[in-house]
Amino acid sequence: MNNANSRRNFLKMAGLTAASAGVAASAGFLSSCNRIEAVEGDRIKLLTSSGELVEVDRASLTPAEIPSLTENQKRGRAGLPGRKWVMVIDLARCRNARKCMEACQTHHQLRPEQHHMNVLQMKDAENTSPYYMPKPCMHCDNPPCTKVCPVNATFKREDGIVLIDNERCIGCRFCIAACPYSARVFNWLEPRDSEKYVGVTYNIEANVPQKKGTISKCLFSADRLRDGKLPSCVSACPNSVYWFGDQNEDAVTNGTTGETVSFSNLIRDNAGYTLLEELGTKPRVYYLPPKGRAFPYQGEIHPS
């Protein structure tokens, strides 16, 4: 009886020792994976978050704390607390320079034919003058697109931004059909530079890396807003077209000049309007009419 008991104890102890040794060994192995081998003079190419390719010495690298996919998705759904982002587009100042489109396509890994931000050539009636109209997503307060999504992949955040989660998107394209502003694009082909983004954790706030067979859309550069920066298109414009800010603060800042003005005064004094407001979508993007143009209409797409 005593003998059997001690054998059981012995086996138990042996098992425990082996298991803990295994855990310790695997922990050591894993931590060695985490470290980066330091070899002098060994230089590697890296892609920064702003999309530039840089070369750094391998010895100076330390592993970064990257939020996991689940964390990204969670904070991406919550949004920035207490914010209500708003954009004002001054049509009188647009020259069709298309710097906004370039910056956007670089930031969000879009092919040349895919547009989160698109500059359209408009003419309202027979005798009126044509004008250029930059068109992002309107980030509606009553968005038709989020309501048709069968898998809850696209959603409205508390800070007003409408986002898309590519990890949930099944590519049914109902939202494209529902959006009255044609703000959404579909990745029919492999996304631009997809080979550079292999293994990068999906950032829901920039919708990067893009995924073939899913939807993409303008996100007001939510990742840049989290860092306290203006959206890519707003910063890239050379002609002071874009104003961006927080409606709760009633202030918008011009991306070109850095001037800050009162949002309510700006849209009241300049007869600001929203697109297709009769649909009840309540857009968060306001337009100022193309009166007192900074540039004459040039009638062609400016080569860039």
Partner: protein
């Protein structure tokens, strides 16, 4: 034949000349002789600088720093020879009418403002070197406190002289509120003879959702840049988070309660009826089996 070729080459070179940076922007005769009606003095140069910074700087860069945008054709620096070679009238014409990437400012700026901007550009003309005696900037200091239960900012301003400090009387102090991407001018106030002022915070001021705002106080251009910030003034009660309304056609977490209730009531009701029918059939079956003759 030879002549034709030479003429051809001459025309070809003439066509290329803009690519080499030669200025061939023709200006109508009447503009060439125009004079700048704005007097060349410190005040107008300063006003011109504000206009330049707002309208021109984004492409032409800071004068003298040659940090203009790399456009084609390149926008010349305000201090460059290309720019200064223009007469006042030629500058006025080019600013007013615009060409290519250069906006037509006749639609957005008044002629006075355009002339003031030209006055500012002329400050970088080597011929004007030493003409403008810059008054030495005065040294000021601002102190401020939030008073009266967060309804006013009490300001004291003084001037630093070599041996002592004296109160700054009758001086304008600008009050700016810090916003997410920049500072918004919300008001200005003039100090009394003791260098004191009390700025009343507007009660309807729109601020961040935590109800707090940072104020930045500054003096005018006669003084060296000096700011004083008053941080975290509680202007109003904090907001609760933005409510996302429940709408009819939406996913489960945002649909209207009555719709969810109706749906689940119908679902549960339907299954209850089916279950009840099955139970009754089972009872009949039991009855039939137990009452076998």
């Amino acid at each position: 034949m030879k002549k034709t070729i030479i003429i051809g080459i001459a025309f070809w070179l003439a066509g290329l000349s803009p690519a080499f940076g030669a200025d061939n922007w023709p200006v109508p005769e009447e503009y060439n002789v125009m004079d700048n009606p704005v007097e060349f003095n410190n005040q107008n140069v300063r006003a011109g600088r504000d206009i330049y910074d707002k309208n021109c700087k984004s492409c032409h860069g800071d004068p003298g720093n040659y940090n203009a945008l790399p456009l084609v054709p390149p926008p010349p620096d305000a201090a460059s020879e290309i720019m200064q070679a223009n007469s006042d009238g030629q500058l006025y014409y080019k600013i007013t009418i615009g060409r290519g990437a250069m906006p037509q400012f006749e639609t957005t700026l008044g002629s006075d403002d355009i002339w003031r901007a030209i006055t500012y550009i002329r400050r970088f003309d080597p011929r004007n070197e030493g003409k403008l005696v810059e008054e030495a900037l005065r040294k000021g200091k601002i102190y401020a406190l939030v008073g009266n239960y967060n309804s006013t900012i009490d300001i004291v301003a003084e001037e630093e002289l070599t041996d002592n400090n004296i109160p700054l009387s009758n001086t304008t102090i600008f009050v700016r509120a810090k916003k997410t991407f920049g500072n918004l001018l919300v008001g200005s106030i003039t100090t009394d003879e003791n260098g004191r002022a009390s700025y009343a915070i507007p009660q309807d001021m729109k601020v961040k959702s935590d109800g707090q705002v940072d104020f930045i106080l500054s003096l005018n251009d006669d003084f060296e840049t000096v700011t004083f910030s008053v941080s975290g003034v509680q202007v109003k009660q904090p907001d609760s988070n933005v409510e996302l309304p429940r709408v009819l056609w939406s996913t489960n977490d945002r649909t209207q309660i009555w719709l969810l209730f109706t749906y689940f009531a119908a679902l549960i009701g339907g299954w209850t009826v089916i279950g009840y029918v099955i139970l009754q059939i089972y009872k009949l079956f039991r009855l039939g089996r137990n009452n076998k003759p």
